[in-house]
């Protein structure tokens, strides 16, 4: 990188540069050209000034570069890099809504996180924000793009849905049954989770991290713990790393099985849904035996990991064979196969440009996987995935099926490596008290990134959370164009995105 700024190592494979707002676009462009992706952008309120932090990551070898941009507290402005990276543009809008840091020349300078009934000029993440003010219609109605023409009509769905999913409002512009435009409006469950972290000790904040998104307890807890350990220069050792990798795969297993059943249910093939539910229940009971929690909570903690028992690989292989049979029955059914094949294609180019993560990206032929891109020492890498590059619902289904098998292989290997060790508690040896840390984990949905800053008093000053859903949600409207309305629930399920993880 040709840059005159000093690069100081600040954490695991991580360097930081302090740049001025004017230098930011050139620096960002240089990193993106060098194969980095925007993993996280976060605002910070340092009391006397505001600060924006841009985290770029790259794979093979694992590299993490932070651009720290101190800002004028009276006129907090950064030049927008939305033209360079689509995810960055979304992060900028989030940062503006929460901190009032204005991205200059942003192509879509609309609200993202804060709905329009929140008053203008109130930025909840600032230290002096105070209690939430009263609702009002301060900033006008939501600007849905209206499509006009003969026979075009709109279907509003949600935010309250018939099933037990999260709240999101979808506005379809439709001619006949073909979707011309879909707008997904989220952030109905913005709970201010990031702010809740502030002022807690990392140990106290763990239970929050486990509850950011209920089905990604391990993913978020682990990313948070890694970030805290990075900030404190703690090395957890090989056993803890392996126990954590094991939990991550257990979480992937039960969620993928759930989704496979749900996708069958959405095409009306409910017998496979029932069986997937049975298999899921078996996996949840395995989780319960392993951690004492069906959702794998309470095992990962900063500095270590303690399990109640190791899972039995033979049992898991049987469960995986069961799941594979359900998947084979689904794919062997001409009706199901017809519904899956060619439905809602996300091309590799689109997935790359949108910054898609996880199985969504892998089903479009991208090899994005934090287990390989940001490997942890002593943990085996997952077997390379075969090419399911169709980018359609079928590919997303098949990637899940493949990952179930891979996860069981990994668990078998990890149990062998652990050799009966089921506990690696924290030693309490920390390299430092304060600092910043980054945790990157391949949760079941995709890459989860946390960045923490711990003050000299050992309390969390700022935690920024990025669930893969935040990056994958924009892909859904893209693939829905020219798809028919009755296919939407299936496509939505094939993406399997989190509302809670996105809305924070």
């Amino acid at each position: 990188m040709s840059s005159g700024t000093a690069r100081a190592p600040v954490g695991w494979h991580r360097t930081a540069r302090t740049v001025t707002p004017d230098q930011l676009p050139a620096q960002a462009a240089g990193l993106l050209d060098a194969g980095f992706r925007v993993a996280l952008v976060a605002g910070h309120d340092d009391g006397d000034r505001l600060r924006a932090v841009y985290l770029f990551t790259a794979a093979a070898p694992d590299r993490r570069v932070e651009l720290l941009v101190p800002l004028d507290p009276d006129r907090p402005r950064v030049p927008s890099i939305a033209a360079l990276s689509f995810p960055a543009g979304r992060f900028e809008r989030e940062m503006r809504d929460l901190f009032g840091i204005v991205p200059v020349d942003h192509p879509l300078p609309r609200r993202l996180v804060r709905h329009f009934h929140w008053p203008r000029g109130w930025y909840p993440m600032r230290d002096d924000a105070g209690d939430p003010p009263a609702f009002g219609d301060q900033d006008g109605p939501y600007p849905f793009r209206s499509v006009e023409g003969p026979g075009v009509y709109e279907i509003p769905v949600g935010p309250v849905h018939a099933g037990m999913i999260g709240p999101g409002h979808f506005r379809f512009s439709v001619v006949g049954e073909t979707i011309l435009n879909l707008k997904a409006r989220l952030w109905f469950v913005h709970r201010g989770v990031e702010k809740l972290f502030q002022g807690r000790t990392p140990q106290d904040a763990l239970e929050l991290a486990e509850r950011i998104s209920g089905d990604t307890s391990v993913g978020h807890a682990l990313a948070f713990c890694q970030a805290v350990e990075d900030a404190r220069s703690v090395d957890v050792g090989p056993d803890a790393a392996r126990l954590r990798a094991l939990l991550l795969e257990l979480e992937r297993l039960y969620n993928h099985v759930t989704d496979i059943g749900a996708m069958c249910n959405d095409v009306g093939h409910s017998v496979l849904h029932s069986h997937a539910g049975r298999i899921r229940e078996e996996l949840l009971r395995v989780n319960d035996r392993v951690t004492g929690s069906r959702l794998l909570r309470g095992a990962v903690h900063p500095g270590g990991t303690v399990l109640a028992a190791l899972p039995d690989p033979v049992r898991l292989r049987m469960i995986a064979a069961d799941a594979a049979e359900v998947a084979a029955l689904a794919l062997g059914h001409s009706g199901v196969l017809d519904r899956f094949t060619g439905t809602a294609v996300l091309t590799a180019r689109q997935a790359h440009d949108l910054g898609a993560l996880g199985y969504v990206a892998r089903a479009s032929g991208l090899s994005v996987d934090a287990r390989r891109d940001h490997p942890v020492a002593a943990v085996p890498l997952p077997r390379a995935a075969p090419a399911h590059a169709g980018g359609d619902v079928l590919a997303r289904f098949q990637v899940r099926c493949h990952e179930i098998a891979t996860s069981v292989e990994m668990i078998t290997e990890l149990v062998g490596l652990l050799d009966g060790c089921r506990s690696a508690p924290a030693t309490g040896a920390a390299g430092r008290v304060a600092g910043s840390g980054v945790g990157i984990v391949e949760g079941w949905r995709g890459t989860v990134v946390h960045r923490v800053e711990i003050g000299a008093d050992g309390l969390l000053r700022r935690v920024k959370i990025v669930d893969p859903s935040f990056l994958n949600w924009p892909a859904l409207p893209v693939v829905m164009a020219d798809t028919i309305v009755p296919d939407f629930p299936l496509v939505n399920k094939s993406f399997g995105l989190s509302y809670a993880g996105n809305d924070l």
Partner: protein, 315 residues
């Protein structure tokens, strides 16, 4: 219409009215058991209806009489069909009304009333459901009418009583090519018309995929109960019609109490068996993509057409 005729009509109406939710319950229970679930029990549809009947009647603001009348029209047309079709006995078929074309027209009238009610709500879902329902209806009607023609050609009459009596007299007719082809064609039409898999999924909660359910989303309370009950009755009627046309054995030839009781029992067994079979088949089916439905229904139309051709050539 004779006293016996009125009595039979009343008996048929009561049997279908009381039995339809039970049929639905049995079908759901069969499906649940085959899928490894416990199921809610055979009486659950009746419990649901009781719950809905106790609720406050509500109609959405801005709806007109079309919306309020539709459940009544649906129920009235279904009851009219139930009264005239010889489900139980051929001895009391009224002189007018038991014509197959009239029966098909009455059942269509009910469906159209509901589609208009869906449009009347002015919501996206009502309109979407109505549009889908009419699309399917437009594809099913030709099959029904052509299939009916195939059955009436050998008899020389479209009167249901005549068709049933003639089949009973000459049971070998049900295995003629015309009859078999018509049976398959009308079977597919019945599946489509009653909103079963693979055309529509009656158990879905996904409003965007619904056909029949999307039309009636705005109904609540007693109105919804009426729509649900009438829909269950339509299912019974369609299955009963199919059984009456293609397996008429057990239908009484007199109006004596014993004969009618036996006829009722046989009707119940036939419809239950058909319903259970349909539910069992549904376990192995997935819902077709909406745009594939016309292909299925076109196939059933071709079969109906072949049935007519066969009925002319092979009599």
């Amino acid at each position: 219409m004779s006293v016996a005729g009125i009595t039979v009509a009343l008996v048929q109406a009561v049997v279908v009215l009381v039995g339809s939710p039970l049929l639905l319950g049995i079908m759901r229970q069969v499906r649940a058991r085959l899928e490894g679930r416990a199921g809610a029990g055979v009486l659950q549809p009746w419990r649901d209806l009781r719950k809905l009947m106790r609720k406050q009647p509500l109609t959405p603001r801005g709806t007109t009489e079309v919306f309020r009348m539709a459940p009544l029209v649906l129920m009235a047309t279904t009851l009219a069909v139930v009264a005239v079709v010889p489900f139980v006995t051929t001895a009391a078929v009224p002189a007018a009304g038991a014509d197959l074309f009239v029966v098909v027209a009455l059942l269509t009238l009910g469906a159209v009333a509901l589609a208009l009610a869906g449009l009347d709500t002015g919501t996206a879902f009502g309109g979407m459901g109505a549009s889908r329902e009419i699309t399917i209806l437009a594809l099913v009607e030709p099959t029904l009418l052509v299939g009916v023609l195939a059955l009436s050609v050998p008899v020389g009459s479209t009167d249901l009583g005549d068709i049933v009596t003639s089949t009973l007299r000459d049971p070998g007719r049900v295995i003629t090519p015309a009859h078999v082809l018509a049976a398959v064609a009308l079977g597919l039409a019945v599946v489509a018309e009653t909103g079963r898999l693979p055309v529509d999924n009656p158990s879905t909660h996904l409003e965007l995929t619904m056909v029949h359910e999307a039309m009636v989303l705005e109904y609540a309370g007693p109105d919804l109960a009426l729509v649900e009950l009438a829909s269950a009755m339509r299912l019974t009627v369609f299955l009963g019609l199919w059984a009456t046309l293609f397996a008429p054995w057990g239908i009484a030839g007199t109006t004596g109490p014993g004969a009618v009781a036996l006829g009722v029992a046989v009707f119940a067994v036939k419809v239950t068996a058909l319903g259970a079979g349909l539910a069992g088949a549904e376990v192995f089916l997935a819902k077709l993509r909406l745009f594939r439905t016309p292909e299925l229904l076109a196939g059933s139309f071709v079969l109906a057409l072949l049935a007519v051709v066969a009925s002319f050539f092979f009599g």
